[in-house]
């Protein structure tokens, strides 16, 4: 039995075991790959954002207040996930679960607003197949949305699975990398906000 | 020894030059662009042969001198490396590459200079699955399959594509550039000598890719002017030579004209046939004779797989003879 329920955990429980260390490093590397993934989508979008053909373009569609609210919600969810990790380091497991739940709820709100936003755009005449701009816009922002959805499902699974277990050397790395993932999604959104929305309206 | 080193690559290049068919091979350049490219090929090959000779010499020396001999069980000295040597084989290749990189960059820019002058001729080359269209905007002329150019004249070429990506290559005159849908690329070439140069598509474009050949026909500038004037003015007053050809023209108008234009009249789904009677080859690659023409009209996909031309098996022998007579009569140069 390698991982008995340990009462006193080391200061960084997420990296205390070799498995944890591997998971931690492997996940950082995975995020490196994800960066290239999104960079490719950004490149494609930048190459095609002027190709609106007969459909509506960025400046006719984008509604900045809504996107700004979405941005704030997602940034806040990143903050709550930081609080979750602080709770974890303090050994406050209940705090960890509570902050993670808050993160999930904020993420779900963001996702709901994004779906609302997409529905709006479709009603204004920008379908997925309308133009190269439409295709590349929905692909970039949609891929981000899919990441958010996956993150919500993942963290929810963790919360339910470990609702009664207390903090262990096995679940600490799991929570930790989930939060890493969440921060990454957040950073990508900041780029989407600047490159897609701000540049779309300004330039 | 020194001479040998210089002679070796030279001998190799001499062997290379003149390889292949004259109007097709990049190793036997017939124009300034291909010649400049061949010079770069020779330069790079020379440098590379020097590298190969050095490496092979060390290699052979090492594997002969230091091979294990029977009964030898000594443990060689475990050398860690040598900094001076590392510097040597880092710096020398860099110098060698500079000898290649500098002329290459200059040449890359020279080949990209496409500017119209008073004498230059502009041709818009549109590639289709699996044939070529040549438009001469200055003359208001459209031709199919045969690209006529005047000798000793700078030919500025615009490349376009109507369906998939193709690539325009006339090895004896100039290296290739791609015909990309939605994008216009430019290149230039020149042919000092009269002649027929083989061109072909070099980007996989479907079933008929391997047969997507065309001809570049260089004629003296006067002949070219005549050609261009006649191509532009032969609206529909081609004087058929025989009555059979007149019948053939009727067959043509019933079956072919919706896709193929003669003079100003007709569709543009297929190659323009205004000067068909002067072609050396049918469909870019078949010997020009009655049998091939008839076969291609009746069963184009059997001759050129993937061809988008409609098959006309229903044309009778009599109609076909007349049609071929008519096609034979389509000439602009005499």
């Amino acid at each position: 039995m390698a991982d008995q329920h340990v009462q006193t955990l080391p200061p960084s429980p997420e990296k205390a075991t070799l498995e944890g260390k591997n998971k931690y490093l492997g996940f950082w590397l995975f995020l490196g790959g994800e960066t290239v993934l999104f960079a490719s989508l950004f490149g494609t979008y930048l190459g095609l954002r002027g190709s609106t053909v007969d459909g509506p373009g960025p400046s006719e569609l984008f509604h900045l207040p809504l996107v700004f609210i979405m941005t704030m919600i997602l940034l806040t969810s990143s903050l709550t996930s930081v609080f979750a990790i602080i709770s974890m380091k303090k050994g406050n497991y209940k705090g960890l679960l509570a902050w993670m739940t808050a993160t999930v709820l904020l993420g779900a709100t963001f996702l709901g607003l994004e779906i609302y936003e997409f529905v709006e755009y479709v009603e204004h005449g920008l379908g997925f197949t309308t133009s190269a701009f439409g295709s590349s816009f929905y692909t970039l922002v949609g891929t981000h949305g899919a990441h958010v959805a996956f993150g919500i499902a993942w963290i929810t699974t963790l919360i339910i699975r470990y609702r009664k277990s207390g903090l262990t050397l096995t679940n600490a790395p799991k929570f930790y990398v989930a939060v890493l993932y969440w921060h990454f999604i957040d950073v990508v959104w900041v780029f989407i906000f600047s490159v897609v929305y701000l540049m779309g309206i300004g330039g | 020894m020194r001479y040998l080193w210089r002679l070796l690559p030279l001998a190799f290049i001499l062997l290379m030059a003149g390889c292949g068919k004259q109007n097709l091979s990049a190793l036997d350049p017939q124009g300034p662009v291909a010649a400049a490219q061949f010079d770069l090929i020779k330069l790079s090959l020379t440098i590379m042969i020097i590298v190969i000779v050095v490496v092979f010499a060390i290699y052979l020396f090492v594997i002969i001198r230091f091979r294990e001999r029977p009964g030898d069980t000594h443990i060689p000295k475990q050398v860690h490396g040598n900094k001076a040597l590392e510097v040597v084989w880092t710096v020398i290749p860099i110098i060698l590459l500079l000898f290649l990189a500098v002329p290459n960059v200059m040449q890359t820019f020279t080949l990209a200079e496409v500017e119209d002058t008073e004498d230059s001729v502009r041709i818009v080359v549109t590639a289709h699955q699996f044939w070529w269209e040549f438009e001469y905007p200055e003359y208001d002329v459209v031709a199919g399959q045969d690209m006529y150019i005047p000798t000793n004249t700078r030919i500025n070429i615009e490349l376009e594509a109507s369906d998939v990506i193709h690539s325009f290559w006339v090895p004896a005159l100039a290296g290739k550039q791609d015909n990309v849908p939605g994008i216009t690329n430019e290149m230039w070439l020149e042919a000092p000598e009269e002649g027929v140069y083989q061109g072909r598509c070099t980007e996989l474009c479907g079933e008929g890719h391997w047969l997507m050949d065309f001809q570049v026909i260089a004629v003296d500038p006067d002949t070219f002017e005549t050609w261009a004037q006649n191509m532009a003015t032969t609206d529909d007053d081609v004087e058929e030579e025989t009555t059979v050809a007149v019948e053939g023209r009727e067959v043509f108008e019933q079956n072919c004209i919706s896709c193929h234009a003669v003079g100003g009249e007709g569709g543009n789904m297929g190659p323009n046939l205004t000067n068909f009677g002067e072609r050396e080859v049918v469909a870019g690659f078949l010997e020009y004779n009655d049998e091939n023409i008839a076969d291609f009209i009746r069963y184009p996909q059997e001759k050129k797989p993937g061809s988008l031309m409609q098959a006309f098996p229903q044309i009778t022998d009599e109609e076909m003879d007349a049609l071929i007579d008519y096609l034979d009569s389509l000439k602009v140069l005499d």
Partner: protein, 611 residues
């Protein structure tokens, strides 16, 4: 947890569920060899068609399918998996580890690759294989091709995910799991090259993932990234493809470089000359590999500035490559060179690869590239580097590590016949193709016309291809006739590195005690300057092992099933896609909520099993 003992289960179940890096390595090798034979067969068919002008052995459409599948199979399903097999088996042993960092993901990577490969090849039976070349340039692949391309897109997407997982796994393994004393600068070159190749996988494959995703969305769901009529741009695909595609060739060649470094040092009985220069050169090649992708696109109209930059950057790669060549030569200098079959492959590699390398520089000359591009000159060049580099590396590595992996030695006489026949056939096939290209023969042509001076060389090329085919058969025969030559020594070649310190056959747990590393060539150092055998870094004790799992097979199977739903979604098969994805995500969910702590091999058993 319960002590899951493999022997109580059936052999098939054991292999399906294994998470042992050695068994996974062998599965990679077997599957890769199968696809290698398949890709080779496809090549032979093409060479028969090209033996004579205007041959009618194959219709043009079939030829286009063969050339696409040959390239795709050889790169994605043969060369990379075989290298992955060697890496999987050897790298943990070279760094003194008991397994890779993520045994479960390792297994998942393999099964994703296998199901992706099977999916791709099923296209032959369902409406024709992909026919747009392994590069699948749009719009030929988006608007002008049949379902074959859908199999290409989804097959590569699935196997590509497996490759990415494998790459991350190797990186973490190498960074985190090295034995005490093995600093990064004491790692064997094969491990180093695996490390750099894995980094390239990590940063290159996501570009392919996106390229394939876009192509799939365009073909199946009507997106318009590449559709010119809707404002699309066809060149984006080429950029995405080559941002992946160029590092990919280094993903293939760097591990081969690593293999040669091991073989040349071992059979020259000398330490690798200029170890740190070799490591530096490997890193530099990996870095530059990302800066040169557009040299595949000189003729697409990027303009003289871009062309010049990419030309010069490409030429720069010759410098670190040259450093490696000279360091190999000087490793042999002053050594005692043994001409074993493994070393023959290394010695055959040097001149062959140099020839492929110099044509690479010629191709990098952008202005001259307009003549070379998309002709048989390019075909000759990349076969010189891929066969002369990667394939010779794979065969050399096979002969070298065979006793380690399979517990017997391959027959040397048959091996040498195989080597010479293969090498001769290879040069015969591809040397003349340089000239064919310059004489006006484009690549990817289903045939050529007579009377163009191309006939004789094409015939010669085909004869060479037959020789390579026969040589490969001799290799397969060798595998079976040599099985009786049981290898009892763990160190048959007087090896230098950690993989030769353990008994043969390799125990399940690799090292009874984690070794202590005191030099670059850890074993050589102990043999000739230390006390004769490896020092242990830990006392003998119970060894913790991970449990096997069938979930990787099920996750991969789910994606395999879902692919058919996507391909035939217009025919109302969408539900199949949903079923497949439910299977995949369901198994991932199960994996996520089930804690599996593995089991322990008791110390008594270790004492019985090893020395």
């Amino acid at each position: 947890m319960s002590n899951t003992n493999a022997q109580t289960k059936s052999v098939v179940w054991d292999w399906l569920t294994t998470v042992d890096h050695k068994k996974i390595g062998i599965m990679y090798l077997v599957a890769g060899a199968f696809f290698f034979a398949l890709g080779g067969f496809e090549a032979i068919l093409m060479r028969i068609q090209l033996m004579f002008p205007e041959a009618t052995f194959l219709p043009a459409q079939t030829f286009n399918e063969l050339l696409t599948m040959h390239g795709t199979t050889m790169i994605f399903l043969a060369a990379m998996p075989i290298l992955f097999g060697l890496m999987n088996y050897i790298v943990p042993l070279q760094i003194g580890a008991r397994d890779v960092a993520f045994p479960f993901l390792n297994s998942l990577g393999f099964w994703l690759f296998l199901f992706g490969g099977i999916l791709l090849n099923l296209s032959w039976f369902f409406g024709g294989a992909p026919d747009a070349g392994w590069t699948a340039y749009v719009p030929l692949s988006s608007e002008y091709s049949g379902t074959g391309i859908d199999y290409y897109v989804l097959g590569l997407q699935i196997s590509g995910a497996g490759t990415l997982i494998g790459g991350i796994n190797f990186l973490v393994t190498i960074i985190n799991m090295r034995a005490p004393g093995m600093s990064m600068m004491r790692m064997p070159l094969f491990t180093w090259s695996t490390f750099v190749a894995s980094t390239l996988i990590l940063f290159a494959f996501p570009a392919l993932t996106i390229g394939l995703l876009l192509l799939m969305l365009e073909r199946i769901f009507g997106a318009t990234y590449f559709a010119v009529a809707s404002g699309g741009n066809v060149v984006i695909w080429q950029h995405l493809f080559w941002i992946f595609g160029h590092p990919e060739v280094y993903i293939l060649i760097l591990p081969a470089f690593g293999i040669f470094s091991e073989i040349i040092a071992t059979f020259s009985k000398k330490r690798l000359f200029g170890y740190s220069a070799m490591v530096f050169a490997t890193l530099l090649i990996g870095f530059l590999g990302f800066m040169v992708w557009a040299h595949h696109m000189f003729t697409v109209g990027m303009g003289p500035i871009a062309n010049s930059i990419f030309a010069v950057a490409t030429m720069a790669i010759a410098v670190p490559t040259g450093i490696k060549i000279f360091n190999w030569l000087f490793t042999m200098w002053g050594g005692r060179i043994q001409f074993t079959t493994a070393n023959l492959f290394a010695l055959g590699f040097i001149p062959s690869f140099v020839m492929g390398g110099v044509t690479g520089i010629m191709l990098a000359t952008s202005a001259a590239n307009y003549q070379f591009h998309d002709t048989y000159f390019v075909v000759a060049h990349f076969h010189y580097v891929i066969i002369g580099g990667v394939v010779l590396g794979i065969f050399g590595g096979a002969f070298y590590w065979w006793p380690r992996m399979f517990g017997y030695r391959l027959n040397e006489t048959l091996g040498k016949i195989f080597f010479w026949m293969f090498l001769f056939g290879f040069h015969l096939t591809f040397f003349v193709q340089h000239f064919l290209g310059l004489m006006g023969m484009p690549r990817r042509v289903a045939s050529y016309l007579p009377g163009q001076g191309l006939d004789e060389m094409n015939l010669i090329s085909t004869i060479g291809a037959f020789l390579m085919g026969v040589a490969f058969i001799i290799f397969v025969v060798n595998i079976f006739v040599s099985m009786k030559n049981k290898e009892t020594s763990g160190d048959p070649w007087d090896g230098r590195t950690l993989e030769w310190t353990i008994p043969s056959p390799t125990p399940e747990y690799n090292f009874a005690q984690t070794p202590l590393v005191r030099d670059v060539d850890a074993l050589w150092y102990e043999k000739y300057e230390g006390e004769g055998s490896m020092k242990a870094a830990e006392p003998l004790g119970d060894i913790h092992m991970p449990n096997g799992s069938i979930l990787p097979v099920i996750i991969s199977l789910g994606l395999f099933i879902a692919s058919f739903g996507f391909i035939y979604h217009d025919d109302g098969w969408t539900w199949v896609a949903i079923v497949g994805l439910v299977i995949t995500f369901g198994s991932m969910f199960v994996r996520s909520i089930k804690e599996d702590h593995g089991y322990h091999i008791p110390v008594d058993e270790i004492k019985k099993g090893g020395k």
